[in-house]
Symmetry: C2
Subunit: 196 residues, 2 copies
DNA sequence: CATAGAATTCCACACGTGTAGAAGTCAACA
DNA sequence: TGTTGACTTCTACACGTGTGGAATTCTATG
C-alpha cells in the first residue's frame, strides 16, 4: 500500500500510539487489548509500537503514567479543613472519574488489575502509598482504618457506576448521590468510629 | 500415552471439568482461562470439554450457575426485621465471600465482567433483578436508591478486600469491619436519606 | 451375544498473539 | 553535500487459542 520510509513533517505517531493504547487498555484491559488493535486504532504500523515503546508491558506502563496527578487532587481534597470534608472528597472523586483524560488510565488500571498482577500492584500503590500514607496521619488514631474504609466505599461507587454500570447507581443524579453519600464519607473520616 | 477409548467405571469427568473451570475462571477471568489449561487442571483431555459442554461460552455459563443460592441468602437477610438489619446483611455478605464454594463463582463473575459482556450482564441481573427487585419495595419510597447504594458500598468492600486485596481493608479483622460499616448499611437501608 | 451410543484420545485447521529483524525513506546535522 | 540516525513498512517465526472431526474402547441396552 503505502511506501515504506519516513514521512515528511513531524508526525505525532508516538503520542497517537499512547492515546490509542490508553483507550484500548481502558475498555478491554491488558489482556484484551492487542498490539495490532492498538496500532490499527492509531492508524499506524504495529512495528512502530515496538520501535517506540519496546514491549507490550512497557507500553502498558507508559499508559498508566497519568494517575499521579489524580492522587494529587484527592490528597488536596482530603487534607483540607474538616468542615465539608465528605462532600469535598466525594466531589473531587466523581470529578476525576468523569474527566475522560483521567478516567481512561483509571479504567485501564481497574480493568487490568483483575488479571495483570502488575496492574493490581499499581492500584495498591495508588491507594496505599499515596492516599493512605499522606492522609491517614491527619485523621488521628485509626486513621488508616478510616482512610481504608472510605477508599473501599468510594471504589464501590466507581466500580458500580463507571465500570460495571449497575443500576440504579449508574444513572443516579450526581447531586443525589452526593447528598446521600457525602455525610457517610464525612462520618467515616471524622465521626465516631463504629458502634460504641 | 494412555490408550484412547472409554475408561472402566463411572468417572466423574464432567464434574471435574466444571470444578476446574470454576477455579480457573475465578482467578483469571473468562479471557485468561483457556480450555487447555482447564482440561489440564482437571486431568482430562481438552476434547472432553467440547464433548460435555460444547463451547467455551457454554462452559462459562455452567460455571456461573451457582450464585442463585447466594442471592437467596442475601434476600433472606435483607427482608427480615429492621432491627439489626445492617449487621445481619453485612454478616451474610461476608459469609458468602468467605465460603469458597460461593466465592468462586462470584470471583469468576467479577473477574470476567470487566471483559465479557455476558458476565457483566450476569452481574447486573444478579444485583438488579434479584436483590433490587425483591428488596427495594420493602424499603419504602426511595427503596431502589437505598438498595442500590447499599449494593455499591458492599461491592466496594468485596472488591477491595477479596479481589484487589487493597490494604488495610484486606486484612482488617472481620468484627472491626462489621462494627464500623454495619451502622452505615443500616442507615442506608432504614435511616434518613442524605442531608435535609 | 450383538449392537448402539457414550466416553476418551489424538490430529488438524485457521486464526490471533507478541516478538524479531531486514529493508526502505526521509530529516537533520557536519 | 554527505552521512548518520530516526522513522516506517513488510515479512516471518513460534506459540497458544477455540473449534472440528476421525478413530478407539468401553458401557448399556436389546
Amino acid at each position: 500500500m503505502t511506501q515504506a520510509g519516513r514521512r515528511p513533517g513531524g508526525s505525532g505517531t508516538r503520542a497517537a500510539i499512547l492515546a490509542a493504547a490508553r483507550e484500548q487498555f481502558a475498555d478491554k484491559g491488558y489482556g484484551g487489548a492487542s498490539l495490532r488493535t492498538i496500532a490499527a486504532a492509531a492508524g499506524v504500523d504495529p512495528g512502530l509500537i515496538r520501535h517506540f515503546y519496546g514491549s507490550k508491558d512497557d507500553l502498558f506502563a507508559a499508559a498508566l503514567e497519568v494517575p499521579e496527578e489524580m492522587a494529587e487532587l484527592m490528597v488536596r481534597a482530603l487534607t483540607g479543613h474538616p468542615d465539608g470534608l465528605g462532600e469535598r472528597v466525594l466531589r473531587a472523586y466523581l470529578a476525576v472519574w468523569e474527566d475522560p483524560a483521567m478516567a481512561g488510565p483509571l479504567l485501564a488500571v481497574v480493568r487490568s488489575a483483575v488479571t495483570s498482577e502488575r496492574a493490581a500492584e499499581r492500584l495498591r500503590t495508588l491507594i496505599g502509598a499515596r492516599l493512605l500514607a499522606e492522609v491517614a496521619p491527619h485523621l488521628g488514631p485509626d486513621g488508616d482504618v478510616r482512610a481504608g474504609i472510605t477508599a473501599a466505599h468510594l471504589m464501590g461507587i466507581a466500580v458500580s457506576r463507571y465500570v460495571f454500570r449497575v443500576e440504579p447507581v449508574a444513572s443516579l443524579d450526581r447531586e443525589v448521590l452526593i447528598g446521600v453519600c457525602a455525610p457517610v464519607i464525612q462520618a467515616y473520616l471524622t465521626g465516631p468510629l463504629g458502634r460504641n
